[in-house]
Amino acid sequence: MALTSTAAAPPAATAAPPTPAAGQAPALQIVPLRALPIVGATLVLLVVAIAGNWLWALDFFHVAGGALWTAVDLFLGFVIGPIMGRMPIPARVEFSKRLMPKMVVLMPTLVVCTLAAGWQLARHLGNLSTTYPEHGWLVASIVVVAVMAVVALGLLEPANLAVLFEFRKPQPDGELIGRLMRRFIYAAGVTGAMQVATLIIMSRLATG
């Protein structure tokens, strides 16, 4: 699959953004290739932190990754989502074209860093043990993450990719994009709500 492609020229549009050349739509990248070296470097650092048992680095990956994951989910679900819902469809399309490719690389990276580092951190600190007083909360956090994973991987990501591929068509189907975007926004809202639960659980775990 060509990860980069140039969408065919759209028909005359009243709300079309400025294009680089007459009749040419800007290139739509499903996966922003320029971000991949950053993703690769981040994952290498994660593996090094795990292999080196660097507690500070594991803590950093877990806290920073988790904070970004939570913030992005909440911001997308409760701020950007409702705003996008009220935008005119052409504006929504242009915004989505720029936002969604970035989400394709950002979210999986944040999720892997947060979960892998968190698991190792919990192992080192003895939090995984059933004798740990807050073990029930820890299992609850794993359940919440599992629900988020099902929603994100089963609904969000497929909708995201399907929308991006629809944008590449000469004449994207507005009705289909609208339907998929609604699914995306509602799923982001659900994961946002689950993130609130995660924040409560993690606050509880951090304070004992």
Partner: protein
């Protein structure tokens, strides 16, 4: 959340005017995305079950059962996809190929964590099988989700 459904001025994307002749071609067919999600959920359930017992070793029977059912459900999903006619296979394989690469990297990191933590024997086999189901299931789901809305290439 409010989603604006009002008709909009004509643009490059035409609201309410489907241009994908196959947009609804899969309505009423076996729910392949649901089958994939079920497989994923079973794998996650197995993981939660095992994690709940740590650091003690959980009785492996239920976890093996869950992963086995997840694998069977994944096979069902693949069979359902393979049986499709009028399907955009080039789009499907285009997405699956790169998604497999991405999820192989993710599964590889997780496998490294398990091995690094000293997981061995049946438990390692079980976790590896879980990761395998996970790393194949999601690409199939992503590939189908994209290809179902693409126009199949005409056969010459």
């Amino acid at each position: 959340m409010h989603v604006d459904e009002r008709p909009q001025a004509a643009g490059s994307v035409r609201p309410g005017a489907p241009t994908s002749p196959h947009a609804d071609a899969f309505a009423g067919r076996p729910p392949i995305p649901l089958v994939c999600v079920a497989s994923m959920a079973l794998v996650l359930l197995s993981g939660i079950y095992l994690a709940a017992y740590l650091p003690r070793r959980a009785p492996l029977g239920p976890a093996v059962g869950l992963v086995a059912v997840a694998g069977a459900v994944l096979v069902l999903a693949v069979v359902l996809v393979a049986g499709l006619r009028q399907f955009a296979w080039d789009a499907f394989f285009g997405v699956v190929k790169w998604a497999l690469v991405a999820y192989a990297v993710i599964a590889g990191i997780l496998e490294f964590v398990f091995v690094y933590d000293g997981t061995r024997g049946t438990m390692l086999i079980l976790l590896t099988a879980s990761l395998f189901v996970f790393a194949v299931d999601i690409p199939v789901l992503l590939g189908f989700s994209v290809a179902r809305f693409q126009v199949p290439r005409a056969r010459s």
